[in-house]
Amino acid sequence: MPVWFGLFFLGPVIAEIALLAAHNGVLPDSLNSLISNTHLRATCMAFGGIYGLIAFKTGRWI
């Protein structure tokens, strides 16, 4: 379950937060352009999935 949770929920949550931060000008310009030039959702989902896998293996999210 942690892998699915990371992939399908945590990833999209991080993507939405990043988009919100970029939209509100909270992030530095270099990060802003990085966000707009990458497949943000897919990247964040991949990160969430890997994080979930680590949580599953170690038994800990934090």
């Binding site: 949770f5 399908f8 929920f9 949550v13 800990r60 999210w61």
Partner: protein
Amino acid sequence: MNAQKFDIDYLKTLDESELYRLEREIARKYMGGLSWFMVLWPLLNVLCWFSIWPLVIYDVIPLWAGFIIAVINCTLAYLPSHEAQHDIYARKGEKLYWLNQLIGHASLIPLASSYRVLRETHIEHHKHTNNPDLDPDFSSNAETGWGNIMNSINNFQPGSKSNKAYLNTLERLNTPEAKLAIRDQIMITLAFNLFLFIMAFSGYALEALLLWWLPIKIGFIYLRYYLSWRPHFPNPTMGRYQNTRAFKSWLGNLSSLGMTAHIVHHLHPRIPLDRTPAALRELEPILALRGCSLEDHYHIDAGFKKQ
């Protein structure tokens, strides 16, 4: 309900069985009848929680306001179900038993938890309070309140002790009801996660996070602190009159969700939550004589209430 005041010197003249009979008589006064407060509580709480979703999604209220309301809803979701776990609304065979079961199941929707799991494990908590091997809530034990909060956060980890304690309890019971409870929780967890995934894919990941996922976590931390830790820990002891204590809380009975009188609940579980403070006030001299830990509530030597 006429509360009687008992003189401590009079109580000292009673023998064990007379004292017990008096305690039962007082407790019985507070049992029975439907507490409308406890019926309206879950109804309004669940309705409120459901209504914040469209209100936030259609921008009627901001997400941060919805988050605060959702945290309150999740924190308030458990106790009506707890009443149902003890058949306080109605017993099996009574006309209103359907209401007992409906409240038991429905009030837990904001917490995405199974009524059967919580009922089966809670009854075991009552039977084996503070027993490190058999009390499923023993993992709340900590030296300090912060320790309990850290325990609760640790219990959200995939390999959590608390989840294992509940599962171990259900497996130990191995009854048809316990098996149903495990099945229920699996189904609820799958449905909950599916909902989160669908919301995330529809562009509402933050709403799902702040209206459901995070409020559940905060709600459970608060509940475990006031329902498990404050009344039983630190220094957990076993025994009918020693395993739970009365305590005072910074916002009184309200902030502790009625748990300052939790000792009354453990001694007489069929007294509705909203009547336990009054029952405690009347039972105080007897409980003090029994050596119960009443913190600031009552001082047996002086025989008066300290405020």
